[in-house]
């Protein structure tokens, strides 16, 4: 069995008025892609924020522990141990600095070397042409897909053990989604763990090893990908599958890797 990189035990969080997360427990192992699945407001992002120790000011962790490779959280883990890929990449880069400057600051802050040649080679790996031009451009000069690739490259260059990807495909068209999912699968080959947050069952199905389903702040179901259609699935998971099948009838079936659509 691989080693546990992150182990969440009985995590609850909330504001002083209402509770947002109820007793969440799950692990993320080395070289594993875990998908956190649920509709908006189900607490997926709050769980990720708890892992990053970046909860909004008015939200407090009320119970539970999160261990990072058996150690408690410390600020230096951001970037070097956990890194993050976000949705809507156009607003995730600062518009008055070049992509290269931001790339450099992120690497240097994590005691990583910044060499332009190496970074360019990395950018070419994610199929970005003219990497020099990309480093010298400002975010508003690049497309969403390009910026998402830059983000993945940053996560790769950081060489952190675990990458949290918050809806990395939600702003992209369907071919762009497939390309990003392929890249995320590549991360796995480099023996990285990925926590992928998504509301899209098809996306989860196409890349996850383990799927954790959240509803109303509770972790209702967690299972390996091949157990998705098993009889003992939680009622909510079954509903999700049914809804997904209604959405992707054969007419709309677009081939996105193995069984992207109907299952």
């Amino acid at each position: 069995m691989c080693k546990k990189l992150i182990s969440i035990n009985d995590l609850s969080a909330g504001t002083n008025k209402y509770q947002i997360l109820h007793n969440i427990s799950f692990d993320i192992n080395e070289g594993e892609i875990v998908c956190l699945l649920g509709q908006s407001g189900s607490g997926k992002t709050m769980t990720a924020l708890s892992i990053l120790n970046m909860l909004p000011l008015n939200v407090m962790q009320t119970s539970g522990t999160i261990l990072y490779d058996d150690k408690p959280f410390d600020e230096n883990m951001r970037g070097s141990f956990i890194s993050m890929i976000m949705q809507s990449p156009a607003s995730c880069f600062d518009s008055v600095f070049t992509i290269g400057a931001q790339f450099k600051d992120i690497l240097l802050s994590n005691n990583k070397e910044y060499s332009i040649d190496k970074v360019c080679a990395e950018l070419e790996k994610v199929e970005l042409k003219n990497p020099h031009d990309i480093l010298n451009s400002y975010p508003f000069q690049l497309s969403g897909g390009m910026l998402q690739r830059v983000m993945i490259t940053i996560a790769l260059s950081l060489d952190s053990k675990i990458i949290i990807a918050d809806e990395p495909t939600s702003d992209l068209d369907i071919t762009g989604q497939k390309e990003i999912i392929d890249l995320i699968l590549k991360l796995k080959q480099e023996n990285k763990a990925v926590l992928m947050i998504t509301h899209n069952l098809a996306v989860a199905k196409s890349c996850a090893d383990k799927i954790a389903v959240m509803d109303k702040g509770r972790l209702v179901d967690i299972f390996n990908k091949n157990e998705l259609l098993a009889e003992n699935r939680h009622k909510y998971t079954k509903e999700l599958i049914a809804a997904n099948n209604r959405l992707y009838t054969n007419k709309w079936n677009i081939d996105l890797g193995e069984n992207y659509a109907e299952m």
Binding site: M54, M86, C92, V96, D105
Partner: protein, 310 residues
């Protein structure tokens, strides 16, 4: 960038042309015509006869546009005509006082920048702390205090009670302190607010969050990314502050008896000394336009979104 600067410099010409036309025309629309004003200043009773003579003398009998063309021709060569009051060259008179006014204005501008930007940032970084509350209180007081009254309070306290600063006039560096503080108070207060709000807006940007979550140290994020972003609106507002300061300088000069244009211009206004008023308007507006041009260039230089036309 150079293209932009050249374009903006060339644009000054039509703007100054429009400014000069308005200044010249509006003065003619007023209730007191120049010949009458001239006679009043020379203490000659404005009889029909005297008015006719003066009109011919000042060229006021010529058609309006000829008069404007003649005046503009002179103005381009910095000849704004003769003051009705002193009978000296208006431009020469104003230039004698003008350096002091510019000095007061620019010194106050520096004070505004030095005071407001650090205070605004401090307030934003330590939001809701005691320091932030004090800073908010300062800007509240500053925005509502009449500057000349604040000047009097300073005079009473520092010159009359504590006796550490000269109450008026120019006697060395210490006599600049009170005028500059008086002039800078309001703009400092306003700019502190602008800086604070702008900084707070950018602290919560997603791009800032992304950097933080990937391990960039808070000091780098604040001191580099948030700072540069939040300074953009502040830089724009400095242009507006300069306009307020150069106007306020007139009040402060009268209050502290500084040898700037203030007193001279106030007496020109009460006495309808048109050549001086015209020259004053062109000078002040010219400086204002140039300062705003410089500020715009700095802004474009710092903001790639405009530089690369996105």
């Amino acid at each position: 960038m150079i293209k932009y600067i050249v374009k903006r410099l060339l644009l000054i010409i039509p703007v100054m042309f429009a400014v000069s036309f308005i200044v010249f025309t509006v003065l003619r629309l007023g209730p007191v015509d120049p010949a009458q004003a001239y006679l009043l200043n020379s203490r000659i009773p404005p009889t029909e006869e005297a008015l006719a003579v003066t009109r011919a003398e000042l060229g006021l009998d010529k058609p309006f546009f000829t008069q404007y063309a003649l005046w503009l021709k002179g103005a381009v060569q910095l000849d704004f005509g003769m003051s009705y009051m002193t009978k000296r060259d208006a431009f020469g008179d104003l230039m004698y006082y003008f350096p002091t006014t510019l000095k007061v204005t620019f010194l106050a501008m520096i004070v505004v920048i030095i005071v407001s930007i650090p205070l605004g940032i401090l307030g934003a970084v330590k939001k809701d702390s005691l320091a932030d509350k004090l800073i908010k209180f300062f800007s509240f007081i500053g925005v509502s205090t009449p500057s000349f009254w604040f000047g009097f309070l300073l005079i009473y306290l520092f010159a009359l009670k504590l006796n550490i600063l000269p109450p008026f006039g120019l006697e060395g560096i210490s006599s600049w302190i009170m005028p500059i503080l008086t002039l800078g108070l309001m703009s400092s207060a306003i700019n502190t607010r602008i800086t604070r709000t702008s900084f707070l807006e950018h602290i919560n940007n997603r791009s800032v969050w992304y950097l933080k979550v990937n391990g960039v140290h808070k000091n780098t994020v604040m001191g580099k990314y948030v700072l540069k972003n939040s300074m953009l609106p502040v830089i724009t507002s400095l242009g507006m502050h300069f306009g307020e300061l150069i106007g306020g300088a007139v009040v402060v000069e009268v209050l502290f008896a500084l040898p700037g244009v203030g007193r001279y211009v106030v007496s020109s206004i009460t006495n309808h000394d048109y050549p001086v008023i015209q020259c004053f308007m062109i000078l002040m507006t010219g400086v204002f336009i140039i300062v705003n041009l410089i500020i715009d260039i700095i802004y474009v230089y710092l903001n790639p979104k405009i530089k690369y036309g996105a």
